[in-house]
Structure formats: structure tokens, C-alpha cells
């Protein structure tokens, strides 16, 4: 370890510390006994997941109508939420003006499924078929009561913008497995519910304080699949190749003259860009998918940017070694007309989600691919606005909500945690969003307490300052 550094190694270290994506491993790599970059001195070990796919339901789906049945609430129809249940908890100012907090029981049927007998809403008949693969967490909770801060907290570990996102952390820590694709890819899916829904933000896949190469790269639902991927019209790949050959030659000469390793690095990035011009269209082109696979994802799979299409893309990315894929599906913010709107939203996601899990399994990827499904918070047991028959809305509810994990050795068929009879408070085994993120990192063999990046005087980490915990109960091994 104390031997004199030879020049090649210096160049290589410098290269690594300042390099772009595509080099097998980044911060967690151990290079000649040395830690590269500014990362923490730890190594990923016992990794169960090589990659993850996060299905993010932006707007906050109702746990009460999907995953957390509360049959007793039928007896409470249109009665006020008991003050003892609400306690001193704050409400959003959208319902804190309401004179009444009238209980709105779920109008949907819940039935038991699979060997495990997990109870699932009739709105998710397809997802219900794979409950034996899912570890359901009914006791998620968050510190934020509004969308912007809550989704920012979920995705970056802090409600205040400026921090690094989950995918960026993984890209930073583990790099990419495919030198022709980025480590972290993001898709924003179209949705069927009401048109004006919550915004999402590029900070949700931003690198924050981490190097810019770790930012999520969007596979776009329209136009070029990647920003600036296609050659300008009039430049075909032969011209481009010819040009890059000269460019590389000229740059090599420049390196010989100046000796800056950065120059070699740049040559490599241009070559990688050229390869991406093949690998990305190949990724996005689903004509090679067999008919039965396409059919599994449903009719919308061939329409770019739909959730079904994004799910298929996610599987194709997983196959190609993309470390972390995140799909944002918007439209879940059901302050009004929840029964109608929620059905439409579930229609978008139900069959493709099932297909993704089955497809991953048939490709042999489910064992080391972690799939996460969830939103930024839950929804209230009482109605926002007037409760009229089967029509009502639900307000934001940070005190409890549901999320599930699948693949990568999670305990399928397991239900973790209990909420109270109103689905209002956690009764047993709370799981904060930081805990969920800690658990996701654990699957990658990363101890979240040691996975830090020094910035602004603090060793930043994804899971925040307050202690967070890995939820062992949802893990089989």
C-alpha cells in the first residue's frame, strides 16, 4: 500500500476520480488497495440486488382502497373521525377548514390471493396474482404532508431540494454494469386519471452534490429516446465514424503534447457516445420482443411513453445492466372523485406491473433485481369535500401508507406492519421512507450508515441524520 505510485496508476486514479460513467465500478471500487474518489471507505458486500426498478406512483395512491383493507369502516360511513384517532396531528389546510371529517369507507371489494392469502383490492386483479412474490409494507410513513417536499424526501432523502437522488447514489457507489448505457435511467409515463396532476421535478433524479455523471438520464417518451442521441440529418453513422476517427487522432496528438489524462478520458467519452447511438436505439426498439411477451404487458405496450411501454423498457434495461431504473407514473392525487379516477390509474399500471415481475422472472432476473412500488404518502380515511354516496375524495395522509418490494431476496407473501382500524395511524412496526431507502441500499450490499459523501461540512447520506433502520422482516435472506 505504501509503495511508490507508478505513473500509470496515477493516471488511472486520476482518470477514475474524474471519469464518466461506464467504468465498471466507481466509488465503492477498491483499486490497488486504494479507495478511488472522495467516497467512503467501504465495499459493497453480500449484495442480493445487482439492479433495481422503482415504480413510483406520484401523487400518492390511496392505501385504503388498494392494499390496506378496513372493512369495519363500513359501519362508520359518514360519521366523523374520532378525535382520539386524529390526536394532535396536523391536517393539510385543504381539509383543516372542513367542519367535518366524515369517514369514507372504501367502496372496493377486497379478496385474498395466493398461497399467502394477502388481501388485495379488486382494482388490482393482475398484481394480485403475484402476491406470493411481494413483501407488502402497510406501515410506511413520512415526515411531509405536501407533494413537493414529500416526493423530494422519498427520492433524495431530504425535503429540501439540493440533495442527491437514490439512483445517483447507486450510480456513484456502484457505477454501471454496461459501459454503453448510463447507470441510472428515468422514465416519466403518461397516465389516464385527471389531467392536472402533481408536477415532478428533475431534482428527483438529480445528482445534487454528487458528480454530474451520476444524474439520472431520461429515456424520453417522445422525440429522441435520449437527449441529442441522433445524428443531425445529413450525417450518417459512416460520416460520424469517419469524423470521430480524426477527432480521436487529433486528441491523441494533443495528449502527447500536453500529457493531460483528461484528454484520453474525453476520447473515451466520444467513443462511448458513438456506441450509445447503437445501444440506445437497440434498447428502445421492441420489435425483437416475442408476441407473447408484448401481449403480457397489454395493448399499450407499443405506445411510447405509456406505463406499459416503460415497464417493458425497464426489463430491457435490467437485462442490459442498468443499475437503477425509475418510472414515475403521475395522476394519483385524488382529492375528489377518487373511486372513478383511482380505477383509471390502476388500469394503467396493473397488468404491466404483473408483466414486469413475470417477465423478469422468466428472464432469470428477478433473483437479483429489486422492484419497489410506492408513492410519497397515503390518503385520509375521511372524505375531502362532500361525501356523497360512492363519490368522495381523500386528502394527503403522511401517517401511514403502503408500498411493496419484490425480487432480490425479499420475503414474498409477507405483510409487514399494521395500521389502526381507521388506516390512520401505524399500530405496529412503522417504516419511515428513510427505512425503506436503507433497505433498498442493503439489498445492494451497502450499509446506509457508512455510505456517505462529504458536502457542506456534513457527511451526507441518503437516509438522513436521524437513525434509519433496515427492515429485516421483509427480507428472506
Amino acid at each position: 500500500m505504501n509503495r511508490p505510485l507508478d505513473s500509470a496508476m496515477i493516471a488511472r486514479r486520476q482518470f477514475l476520480s474524474r471519469t464518466g460513467i461506464g467504468f465498471g465500478a466507481a466509488a465503492l471500487a477498491v483499486l490497488d488497495g486504494q479507495v478511488a474518489g472522495a467516497a467512503s471507505p467501504i465495499i459493497a458486500k453480500n449484495a442480493k440486488a445487482k439492479r433495481a426498478i422503482y415504480l413510483f406512483m406520484s401523487g400518492a395512491p390511496s392505501h385504503l382502497d388498494l392494499w390496506d383493507p378496513k372493512p369495519k369502516l363500513r359501519d362508520w360511513y359518514d360519521q366523523d373521525l374520532p378525535p382520539s384517532i386524529r390526536g394532535q396531528q396536523r391536517l393539510t389546510t385543504m381539509t383543516s377548514d372542513q367542519t367535518r371529517l366524515a369517514i369514507a369507507p372504501s367502496p372496493f371489494k377486497f379478496t385474498n390471493h395466493g398461497d399467502c392469502g394477502m388481501t388485495v383490492s379488486e382494482l388490482l386483479p393482475h398484481t394480485a396474482k403475484i402476491v406470493d412474490d411481494l413483501a407488502l409494507i402497510r406501515t410506511m410513513h413520512t415526515s411531509e404532508i405536501n407533494h413537493d417536499p414529500a416526493i423530494t424526501l422519498s427520492c433524495t432523502g431530504d425535503a429540501t431540494p439540493g440533495k442527491a437522488s437514490l439512483g445517483s447514489w447507486l450510480s456513484y457507489g456502484l457505477g454501471s454494469e454496461n459501459e454503453n448505457l448510463p447507470a441510472f435511467m428515468v422514465m416519466t409515463a403518461s397516465w389516464s386519471g385527471r389531467g392536472d396532476d402533481q408536477a415532478i421535478f428533475s431534482r428527483l433524479w438529480g445528482n445534487g452534490f454528487l458528480p454530474g455523471r451520476d444524474q439520472g438520464v431520461r429515456l424520453q417518451g417522445q422525440g429522441e429516446p435520449f437527449l441529442y442521441l441522433n445524428n443531425p440529418s445529413g450525417i450518417d453513422s459512416n460520416v460520424r465514424r469517419r469524423m470521430l476517427d480524426s477527432l480521436a487522432q487529433l486528441n491523441r496528438e494533443h495528449f502527447d503534447a500536453l500529457g493531460d489524462p483528461e484528454t484520453n478520458n474525453r476520447i473515451e467519452q466520444y467513443e462511448m457516445a458513438f456506441r450509445m447511438q447503437t445501444s440506445v436505439p437497440e434498447l428502445a426498439d421492441i420489435r425483437d420482443e416475442p408476441q407473447h411477451v408484448l401481449a403480457m404487458y397489454g395493448r399499450e405496450v407499443t405506445i411510447r411513453g405509456t406505463y406499459a411501454n416503460c415497464c417493458l423498457m425497464a426489463r430491457r434495461m435490467a437485462q442490459r445492466g442498468v443499475r437503477f431504473t425509475q418510472i414515475f407514473h403521475r395522476g394519483w392525487d385524488h382529492h375528489s372523485h377518487l373511486p372513478r379516477e383511482l380505477r383509471r390509474q390502476c388500469n394503467d399500471i396493473d397488468q404491466p406491473t404483473l408483466a414486469l415481475i413475470k417477465d423478469l422472472r422468466s428472464c432469470g432476473l428477478l433473483d437479483d433485481t429489486l422492484v419497489i412500488w410506492g408513492g410519497e404518502f397515503g390518503r385520509t380515511a375521511y372524505s375531502q369535500g362532500k361525501l356523497s354516496g360512492q363519490d368522495f375524495g381523500r386528502d394527503h395522509h403522511p401517517r401511514c401508507f403502503s408500498a411493496w418490494l419484490a425480487g432480490a431476496g425479499v420475503r414474498g407473501g409477507h405483510v409487514h406492519g399494521e395500521t389502526d382500524e381507521f388506516g390512520y395511524n401505524v399500530a405496529k412496526d412503522p417504516v419511515h421512507v428513510h427505512d425503506l431507502n436503507a433497505t433498498i441500499l442493503e439489498r445492494f450490499g451497502i450499509d446506509h450508515t457508512n455510505f456517505v459523501y462529504p458536502w457542506q461540512g456534513l457527511d451526507q447520506r441518503l437516509t438522513g441524520v436521524e437513525p434509519a433502520k433496515v427492515i429485516r422482516q421483509v427480507l428472506a435472506d
Binding site: I10, Q14, R18, G20, P41, R90, T93, M94, S96, D97, T99, I145, N146, H147, D148, T160, P182, D197, A199, I200, F201, S202, R203, P211, G212, R213, Q215, Q220, G221, Q222, G223, E224, L227, Y228, L229, N231, P232, G234, I235, N238, R240, R242, S246, L250, E253, G259, D260, P261, E262, R266, E268, Q269, Y270, A273, T449, Q456, G457, L458, D459, P467
Partner: protein, 898 residues
Amino acid sequence: MPTAFYFLSLILAWGVCLGLESIADEPQLTQAAAAHWAFTEVSRPAGVDSTEQVSVQIDQLINRRLAEVGLVANQPATDAAIFRRVHLDLKGLPPAFDKFQAYAIDPADDKYERLVDQLLQSPAYGEKMALAWLDLVRYADTHGLHLDNHRDIWMYRDYVIQSFNQNKPWNQFITEQLAGDLLDTAEPAARLDQQIATGLLRLNLTTNEAGSVYEEVAARNMIDRTNAFGTIFLGLTLQCAACHDHKTDPLTQRDYYSLAAFFNNLNASAMDNSESAPWPSIAVPTPSQQLSLVQWERKIDELTTEWSAPNKAIDDAQVAWEQSLLNESSEPSGESKFSDLTVVGPFETETIEYAYEKDYASIGCPYDANQTFRFRDRNYGWTALSSPADVQSIPLPSLENRQSVAVVHQRVMVAKPQTVTFLVASSDGLQCYLGGEKRYDQRQQQPGLAKLAIDFPVGTSDVYFKVISHRGPSSFDVAVRSRRAINESMLTVIRKSRESRSPAEVSRLRQYYRAVWCEHPELVAIGDERRGYVRQRDDLLALLPKSLVYRERTEVRSQPILRGGRYDDTGEPMSPSVPAFLLSAERKVGDRVELANWLTSQQHPLTARVAVNRFWQQFFGVGIVETSEDLGASGAEPCNQELLDYLAGQFFAGGWDVKRLVKAILMSQAYRRDAKSTLESIHLDPTNRMLARGPRVRLDAESIRDQALSLAGLIDLRAGGPSSKPPQPAGLWESVGHSKSNTVNYIPDLGKNALRRSIYTYWKRTSPPPLMLLFDAPSRESCAARRVQTHTPSQALAMLNEPQMQQAAIAIAKLTLNHHDIAEQDPLKQMFCRVLLRDPSPTQYAELLLLLSDLRTMYAADRDAAIDLVGLSPDAVNLAAWTVVAMTLLNLDEALCK
């Protein structure tokens, strides 16, 4: 190699994360922290050195260190390299080749110095220097949260650019931004600038998300401003102390909230109301607009006077009206009756739209004077309002700086169906309901009284007026044109003989008559004319560019300590004061002017060091302290503290003169060295912290784009004004934006506007300009003191395929070919020189020539492709080949670095 100290600090930092207070409470640490180098005063220099002396001293301090580690300084860079480097550093634009040729043959010894002087005078200098500051203060054109709506604050950006160009002393620059609103300046233009400068304190992210808890948002804003103050001016990580005493710097939580108290007195709502220029903001007219405004104001004043002045015709009509009233009084009474007014409120509303949509109090239900309304855990009941007969503005309950609703009730009883005319006005929005039905809906203040005729059925009806206050205070005018609605004291006046009325009574009656009853064409004409001017004025004011500014509340509020940083867990209230460990003030530092004075005092250990370090970073790629955002104990050690302190001392002693400092740095040999590295020099100093080599850094995102457009002769150098929108790939904003946001659709500018310098590119925080993000620009959501550079294939793709890059390559090809016809020079050499200011080496030349000829062959075989690339032209094949050569040159590593 990680040192033991490194691991110790890691352990300490983990302790911080885990809240292990005991570690930090060790007295040793506190002592160590207090003795931290950056908290000790910079020793005052004996005298102010000349620029030349400063340059010499820089080199001495650097060379001494080089000698210690056995590094040999590189030779000076070539003329071409230094010419290009200093242009890109001071202007962010590449130099023209003919300028360089003149420079190259200039035999004078002082040609470099004259060049630097000349560049410092260029208007492009301010645009380049402003960039780092705008990153630091997180300048952007949108609010940043939730809807991420547009924000009017580009004038602040222009203020920063102009300040650099005017070479405003750094202490003044700081003072204006921190306290411009509190300064006494007579000169109107300077006064305006100082207002705009306070936009700094409004650059925090804001929201108007429905459901937000106001106090929580207010606390977040305050914390955001305080943290920004720490990063921008102190180079410290104050944010740690928002929740607990700082673990590595001797800053207590009390210190934090005492500092926060300086920024807790903004006279504004914590919510941005989704407006472009949420109050307080100023509208800035052009001189000719200003002239019109003054003229219209005068007209409005005149007409207001005329409206209430004696007027024979109108006064005669009044006499007739009085007479008819006295005659009417014989009518049977009880025909119609109007109750006294009562009011309930204020009901806070989270968005103004909600206020207009929702029913409050008993709107739509029968009135009950004793009813109380439960609203956000409080009870509200009806209270009496003063009599409305005199048409005075009646103040209503409202919330300071917040949106709220007050409901006014009046009961009307009529014996037979009839139409009653109400005359109403309010300071903001007004809606009127009868029996649950909306009869009137006005969403902004209207000049004068609006007439509102309501048909009443026989019996009793409840009329509700919902007055929506957009910011408080709120007022309401109502009068009823009915004999029954005239109050007794007014009737008494009417019954008096004209001679026996006092002047006050005459005036009161006239006002009342004219406001409520008079329909005499002369008065109507005066009223209409006045209304016209008011509307004209308001329309212009609405169109004027605005800029967010800071205004202090009259009543100073303290800032309670928020335990654990939690907005709803308040502790002891703190008054504004500064942390004593830095520089204990002789006098009390109680307002923002005094805060700025404290900060810019020559004894302040941080201000000058922080600034000098960042200027250094700008030119050398890395600061003397690498962590330029944090000079505290957890930041990096300075690699040459003596140098930093020397420059800091010279900076304040020399009057905080930025151009002087910049010149001294650029005149140093260290800056002017050749950038060549050898295995030996990389071995000894991999990242060139010792500066044996000249700085070699990739251009920042903005300069990359500006360089291409500039080399192509396409760039539009107009300074200032609203931000521009160059083309960006379709769908970027749409796919993330809230559909109700006013920045959800990106409509690119056409023509010259699309070709402006990148510092003027519109910055939407939740979807920043893609080219800038790809090249490591921060998102402007938080303060960024430096950009960490990375290499990615996405950058290569952008350079190769972004439409403006392509446009630039075509333009360069055309320029080269056209120019060649005249100059009879080798066009390949000429193009090469245009981009890199030097001749290609023989092998480079051969490579490019071969490329050119191969491309010609390729395009000759596919003429359509050539036309696709460069458009229809008889010379398309040749032009296409040259375009690809130009593209190659723009993508050279040498072109992308300075």
C-alpha cells in the same frame, strides 16, 4: 492517502450524523474549532501593494512551495494559448484570430498587461464574472417548488452583471444586496439599483402548494435564506445549527436563530401566491413610461378634485334630489328596510382560487347573528360594522401579508318586489350572494363604485358580501340607492336649510349624493374620464417589468429558536445579532445595514478570504481552499494559506477592488504558465494544486455554447433584459410540469433571441436548460459555490448533435469558404486558426486534409445527405464536408478546454 486526521474527522462527522452530542461537547474540540485558521483575523498589510507587486508576491508564495516539493515551474504559455485563456476567463468568449495576429506581432513588453486592462473593460467581463455569483446565490427564473411558476427577477441578474462591469467595490456589492432597501441614497437610479439588489434575499425557493401549512413554509423560507447567507458570505455551513449547535464550528443554535432574525422580517406572505412578482416587488418603467405615469397621476388627481368640487349644474341637480327626498318622506314607511352590517372573519385561505370558489360562514344559509363558525381550530362570530350610508371605506378584518376572506352581511326587507341598487367596491376581490346565488364577482380592485342591481322578492333576504383580501389590509364600500338606506344623521343634514349647514356637512352631503345618487351627465363624464386614466395607469403598471425586492416590516419580529429545526417547536425568541466567535461587534448589530457593515469590516476573518478564494477558483479551476463553500473546520485546509491571507489583506486594504485583484492574479506567472504536464509533474501533484503548470480546465457549460456561437459569428451580444429561450428538445417541461403551471410549455425564441449569451438563458428550476445540466451546471435549487466537472458520453452527444452546435458548424464552414475567396489563404489553416488561434501541426493538418477529402467523397456519393445537412446550395457537397470538419474542430479537447 487518507490521514489519521481524515479518519478522525470522519468519525466526528459520523458522530454528527448520529447525534452523538457527547463527541462534540468535548472542550478540546470547541477550543480547536475556535482556533481554526479561518476564524482568526487576517493580519492587516503594512500597506497597499501595487498590482504588479501583488502579482510578484503571488509568484513568490507559489514558487517557494514548488521548491519545497521539488517541482519545476513550467515555461510561460505561448502567446496563442495565453491569449485564448485570458479571453475565455474574462469574457467567456473566444478571441477573433485577427486580434490575435495583431497581438502576436506587437513587440511591446506590456502588451499582455494592456490586453488584460482592455478585457476588464469589456461588457462581456461582467457577464462572465456574474456566472459564478448566480450559481452561488441560486438565481433562476422560476419559484422552484410545486407549480414552479415564472418569477420576475431578471433585473437582479442584470444588476450583478452591471456591478462587475462598474467594478463596484465588493463591500458595496455586499451591502446593497443585503440591505439596499435600508440605505439612504438620494440619487434615484442608484436607489432603484439598491432595491433591485435586495432581490438576493428573495432568491429562495417558494411554493404555493395547496394544503401547505403556512408556518412550516415560513420557517423553511427563513432557514433557506439563513443558510444561503452562510454559504454566500461566510463560506460556512450554518445549516447544521438550525437543528443543534454546530458540531465542528463554534456556532451555536442561538447564533443561528440570531442570524435568522435578520431575515425574518420580510413584509410579505410566505407563500408566493403563484404570482410572477409576489409582493414586495417593484415595477420599473422606462423614462418615457415614467413620464406618462406622472402625467396620468396628475390627471387623476385633477379629476378627483373636480369630481368633488362645486359645480353649478350638478349642485342644482342635488337641490332637486334633496327636494324629492323630502317630498317622498310622506310615503308609507316600512316599504323597505336595511339592517346594519355585520362581519365575520378573517378566514385564511391557502390559494386565492379557493377563496373565490369556496363558501364561507353562512353564505347560502339564513343569517343568525349569534352563530359562530369553527375554522382551523378557532371560533369566529359576527360583529357589527359601522354604518355604510356615507360611502366610506370600511376596514375589514384581514391577515397581514396573507390571503384571507371576510364575509359581510346585510338583511334587506321589502314589502313588494323591487330592484335595489347597491354600489360596492373593495380593496381586492368581491363577490355578492343572495340566497346562495352569486350575483356579483369581481377579482381585482376596480376604480370607483360598481353598480349592482338586485331584484328582491317580498319579505326578508340575506345579502352576503364576500371580500377577498389578496394580501391585507382589506376594505369595503357599500351604499344602497334607496331612501330607506339613508341614515338618520344624513337626513338631518338634508332637512336643514342650505344656509345653516356647516361646511363639513355640505361636503359630506355632496360626497354622498355624488357617489350614490347622482347621474348627472357632467359628473358621469368626469367619473368616466378618471376611470379611464386609472385603467390606463393600471394597465401600464401591469405590463411593466417587475423585480422581487426585500422590504422590512415596520414592526420587527424576533425569531424564536426552532428546537430541532421543527417549525412548530418554538423556543426562546432571538433578536438579530451576529456570532461573536467570528468578530465580536463593538456596537450592537441589529439590522441588515449593520450586518453588512460587520461583514465588510476589515477585521472580519471570513468575508475577504471567502471572496478571494472564489475568484482564485474561477481562474485556476480549484480554490486555494478546495471546499470554497466551506471554510469552516470541516472544510478543506488551504493549500497555501499565506497566499490566501496575503490576497485577502490586499483585497480589503485596497478598497475591495475586484478588477484590481483579478488583474493581479492574471498578471502572475502562475496563471500564464504553459499547461503541459509530464509524468513527473503528475506524479508529484496530480491535480496541479501547487500550480507548477498553467491552469487547464474544461470550459463551463455557458462558455462552451457561447464559444461555438461566437466562432460562427452567430452570437447575439445584446446585454440584459428578460431571459431568452434557445431551442431545447421538445417535451422536457411538459413531461414534468404541473399542468396548471405557467412554465409547463416551452416555446423557444426565434431569431436573434435564441442566439443570446447563455447567461441569459431562461432557468426553470425543476427542468433547467438541458445543455447546461449536462455540462455540470447546478440546478439553482440550492447555493453552489463551485461546479464539479465530469465527463459523460451525454456531453459528447450534445456537442455532436445539439442543433445550435450544428448551426454553428455550418456557419463556420460558410465563413471559412467565403473568406477564403478573398484572402486566398489555405482555408483549412484558416478554420483551424479561427478555433484554436494557432496553425495546425503538420500531422494535424494532414489528418484534417484527409478527413476533408474523405468527407467530400462521401458526400459526393450522397448529395442528398449533403443537402440535408447544409440546405440547398450548388456547393452543398463541399460545404457539408467543411461543416463536418468544423464540427470536428469544435469538439477537440483543446477547443473545449481553456
